[in-house]
């Protein structure tokens, strides 16, 4: 099944001057799919800010690279990639989600980096009935992510999860991976000048028929009736093999470094061997000749188009000078004995880089594909119509007065607020021994990625679908703000962003309009906050056959740098008698909040004022720099009181019976900001902050005179998700 449209087929025939071969048809089908070509998103994505003093590499290769800091005179950078694996995870959740981790890890690995962390923003359907199909998807996807990440030994340090009816038929499995690299040792995804005659080496598992048509499948609307049919398009994960492949590749990196040799390295993702080798050579200004019969295969008799574009997992591609290739092959095939780890796995030469910019594929010496490289990999655009509209007006709706005693426990037990621990306990968050703040310990995960160094990196994700349902643009701006606040709250300096844009069908003007509005909003927020987007991904067609699309979901990750991990803000209240400050907008309205949902009202969305946001970030960073910040938490789902409660929970878990007494208008509003525990005599400039109370020497929260027992609140908050994740 080929999903190219008539006008695209005509364009191909016209350019070639003949009808395309079967292999060419499948190659263009993958290369021109939405998934690979970004044909309906490219013209808007170019509005995102991508530059800055920290940026070593913006979008364009397999991952972005940001300067982290200097240790022992060496400059280190973090490599980051962000993708979705939504469609596969809906159809075959365990394998789909696992291969999501597998793919994103390769994107970071191929930049010459050591992979040090993953994160997983997840959006599932409602799982109130734990025996439902939605619950099966939610459990199996999490198990797939855990099974893969745990086995390769990459800690999962950040992520979030929401459960909404809007995701009942289309779950979202987004994945983020982080790597660390010495800036001298970055390897690019395309061949450099002078690469003519370099050999192209395919390394990894034997190519099999799995994942055939994957790129194209990701660019279609899901129809439950086709679920069985689509399963063949999902790849098969093998984390055991990947573990070995990663370590063997680290050995290759070390040898390249030692010899001062340049090479190109790239992940085989969408479009398989053709997609990878064509981009790798064309983007360097070269062509390629490949002989498909030299590819190691798992079964005999596969047609050449399956070998050419199938998406068998755990494969990567090198282009390297011929004099280095014997060592390359020796490391993978002998030192790490790939064929002993998986059937017929190996590294082998399959072709070479040519000066003529043609992409020529042979199968048993017959030419099965011969096209201009640029034509295959070049830019294509779909100028689709979209609707512009104003999503939410200024119609204010006051929240009714609430009975805090009755409603706060309901907020804490809400599916978007309650503890995520039953879920993330299935993830190894501390393997490799570099984790400073493990998954769920704080607003962001923190690692010490360079052993022996004080450098730290923080990672957080955000994207609230309750906002997305109301206004896709507003949700996108809030996603940037929340991700950034989370990184700031642990004591890091935000240095860059990634995004994954999960939207509906671009061929429906209204759904496409949501997507366009969200990108503009991301660009606005990032520009105002002076942060670059260095990597990202677009996932469209998140629409079920019923025609129902997901809540528009711009999901953002923020990366922060830390000069000295000793300054990281650790979880929980530290001492009684500290001042509790609220840092953020005072506009206490409830639109999009959990409270509004529980009360069944709409509420008004809080305004976004960037001057105020910048001021709030500066206050928090200043308090941390002065060493007066004892603990800090962002205000997000569940509002300010939830943030206060979590500081008390973390204190309780650490054996400190410290609570808080606060006085605050409506403490369940979710207007973004920070709750900060600062030393009583901080001497900080408190302009722009509001003292809402103080910590007390008892495990209690006293809220506008109403008293809560912290341990009981903790029980309420910590249990609900254990139903779904026992």
């Amino acid at each position: 099944m080929v999903n190219l449209r008539d006008e695209e087929l005509q364009r191909i025939a016209q350019q070639l001057g003949r009808d395309p071969s079967v292999v060419e048809l499948h190659a263009f089908d993958a290369a021109w799919s939405e998934h690979c070509s970004y044909k309906s998103s490219r013209r808007f994505l170019k509005n995102l800010p991508i530059g800055g003093s920290r940026v070593l590499l913006g979008p364009g290769e397999d991952a972005g690279i940001l300067h982290l800091g200097t240790h022992d005179g060496e400059r280190y950078a973090v490599v980051v990639a962000h993708e979705s694996h939504n469609h596969p995870s809906q159809v075959v959740p365990f394998e789909g989600a696992a291969t999501g981790i597998g793919g994103i890890v390769r994107d970071v690995l191929c930049m010459g980096a050591e992979v040090v962390a993953v994160a997983d923003p997840l959006r599932f359907g409602r799982c109130d009935d734990v025996a439902s199909h939605q619950s099966h998807v939610a459990r199996a996807a999490v198990d797939g992510i855990g099974a893969y990440g745990n086995a390769i030994g990459v800690p999962n340090i950040a992520g979030d999860v929401y459960f909404e009816h809007g995701f009942d038929e289309n779950c979202l499995v987004n994945v983020v991976a982080l790597g660390i690299v010495n800036e001298k040792d970055v390897i690019h995804s395309y061949v450099p000048k002078g690469a003519e005659g370099w050999q192209i080496v395919l390394v990894g598992k034997a190519t099999d028929p799995s994942g055939f048509g994957g790129a194209s499948f990701s660019s279609l609307t899901l129809d439950a009736r086709d679920a069985e049919l689509n399963k063949g398009a999902v790849q098969v994960p093998d984390p055991f093999f990947k573990n070995v492949l990663m370590r063997a590749s680290y050995r290759v990196f070390a040898l390249l470094r030692e010899r001062g040799i340049a090479a190109a390295f790239k992940d085989l993702g969408a479009g398989g061997i053709v997609g990878c080798s064509a981009e790798m050579t064309a983007h360097g200004g070269y062509g390629a000749q490949i002989e498909l019969s030299t590819v190691n295969v798992a079964v005999e008799g596969m047609p050449p188009e399956v070998i050419a574009v199938g998406e068998t997992q755990e494969r990567m591609m090198w282009a390297a000078p011929p004099e280095f290739v014997p060592d390359l092959l020796r490391i993978y095939n002998e030192e790490f004995g790939l064929s002993e780890v998986a059937y017929n796995a190996r590294a082998g030469v399959i072709g070479e880089v040519t000066a003529e910019r043609r992409y020529v594929l042979r199968y048993r010496e017959h030419v099965v594909m011969d096209v201009e490289s640029e034509f295959l990999t070049g830019t294509i655009n779909d100028e689709l119509p979209y609707t512009e509209k104003i999503y939410h007006g200024a119609s204010a709706q006051e929240l009714p007065a609430v009975d805090i005693e009755g409603i706060f426990p309901r907020v804490l037990a809400h599916r978007d607020v309650c503890s995520r621990e039953p879920l993330y306990r299935r993830y190894d968050s501390v393997v490799r021994g570099r984790t400073v703040l493990a998954r769920g310990a704080a607003d962001a995960g923190v690692l010490a990625p360079v052993p022996g160094s004080r450098l730290g990196v923080a990672l957080a994700v955000a994207g609230n679908p309750r906002y997305g349902r109301i206004d896709p643009a507003y949700a996108a701006e809030q996603a940037v703000l929340e991700a950034m606040r989370r990184v700031v709250a642990v004591g890091a300096h935000p240095i860059g962003l990634t995004d994954c844009l999960n939207f509906g069908n671009p061929r429906k003007a209204e759904q496409y309009g949501e997507f366009v509005a969200a990108i503009e909003a991301l660009a606005r927020a990032a520009t105002e906050l002076d942060l670059p987007f260095v990597s990202g991904n677009v996932s469209l067609y998140n629409e079920a056959a019923s025609g129902r699309a997901i809540p528009p979901s711009a999901i953002v990750a923020c990366i922060g740098s830390i000069d000295d991990i000793a300054k990281v803000i650790t979880p929980g209240f530290k001492a009684a008698g500290s001042a509790l400050l609220w840092v953020g907008s005072r506009e206490l309205v409830g639109g999009g909040s959990v409270l509004a949902e529980l009360l069944g009202v709409k509420g008004t969305l809080p305004h976004i004022e960037y001057d105020a946001e910048r001021a709030a970030l500066a206050i928090v960073r200043d308090a941390i720099a002065r060493g007066v910040m004892r603990s800090c938490r962002v205000v997000a789902d569940g509002g300010m009181l939830t943030a206060v409660a979590r500081l008390a929970f973390d204190a309780l878990l650490a054996g400190r019976k410290i609570g808080a007494e606060i006085d605050f208008g409506n403490p369940l509003c979710e207007t973004g900001g920070f709750v900060c525990e600062v030393t009583g005599d901080s001497g900080m400039d408190v302009t722009g902050t509001l003292q809402i109370g103080a910590t007390i020497d008892a495990s209690e929260l006293v809220v506008n005179g109403t008293r809560f027992d912290v341990e009981r609140l903790y029980e309420t908050w910590s249990r609900p998700l254990a139903q779904l994740y026992p």
């Binding site: 984390p239 573990n243 070995v244 790490f336 993830y427 968050s429 501390v430 393997v431 021994g433 004080r454």
Partner: protein, 255 residues
């Protein structure tokens, strides 16, 4: 020349780097030995088997690796009284190899680290180990204080000690129960056990006291930066917490 410690790396091992780093930070002369260099293993004086999923945990965690030729050297070394210490997957391999509790024959395990219970899932959770033997009963724990509490992370799907009631009695009577799960104050209760392990077992030692197998990872709570109870002003790069057990291991090689 100080004693040489090998950290064997099987296909699927994933905790080799932090294990190596901690051994070195504790003064040990340690290096990684990759499976393709199996023949060089015999030359070492002591062995630390790191965590991971050797051979994909096929059949049971550790079952295939126990038959790997690297284990020929380790088994022989253990028989000669050299120190052998396994953590998590390393512990599973030592049990499958019959080295702990060591009451049966080589490669004929008498017990198993089985699927966690009641929920049969991977669990990643901070825990504490409490030394349940006299420190000198095991050479590797000899420098720890009596009733030592060692902080660590449990991170496994198969860590529940399972054996027949008779064999569990034999494990206790023979002094093989080296570590039990406890809370940070040392209290031993059900809530402290992350995996349903029989006897609350977190670690086993052989009769001779030279082979120790523990399920949780002390090397993940071993420097102040990843030690949950660090105090303000502590050097974040200095060893702490779970490093005490590794230091005791290195100490045993020096005496």
């Amino acid at each position: 020349m100080s004693a040489r410690i090998a950290v064997p790396v099987f296909p699927g091992t994933n905790s080799e780097d932090e294990t190596l780093r901690l051994l070195r930070d504790c003064g040990g002369n340690a290096e990684l030995v990759h499976w393709s260099q199996a023949s060089s293993l015999a030359r070492y004086d002591a062995y630390v088997l790191p965590g991971g999923f050797a051979y994909e945990d096929r059949i049971r965690a550790g079952a295939i690796a126990a038959h790997d030729r690297m284990m020929d050297s380790v088994i022989e070394a253990a028989g000669n009284g050299k120190l052998v210490f396994g953590v998590c997957n390393g512990a599973q391999i030592l049990l499958e190899a019959g080295l702990v509790p060591g009451t049966g024959s080589i490669r004929r395990p008498t017990a198993a680290f089985s699927r966690n219970a009641p929920a049969p899932h991977f669990v990643c959770r901070h825990v504490c180990l409490k030394l349940a033997i006299e420190p000198a009963r095991c050479a590797i724990t000899a420098s720890l204080p009596r009733d030592a509490i060692v902080p660590a992370w449990a991170a496994h799907a198969e860590g529940r000690l399972a054996a027949t009631p008779e064999h569990l009695r034999e494990i206790v009577a023979g002094g093989h129960l080296a570590f039990v799960y406890a809370d940070s104050s040392g209290a031993v209760d059900e809530a402290a056990i992350p995996n349903g392990s029989a006897l609350g077992c977190a670690g086993l030692v052989n009769r001779e006291g030279n082979v120790l197998a523990i399920m949780p990872h002390p090397e993940r709570d071993a420097w102040n930066f990843n030690h949950l109870d660090r105090r303000e002003g502590d050097d974040v790069l200095a060893t702490s917490g779970g490093a005490a057990l590794f230091r005791s291991f290195v100490q045993a090689l020096m005496s």
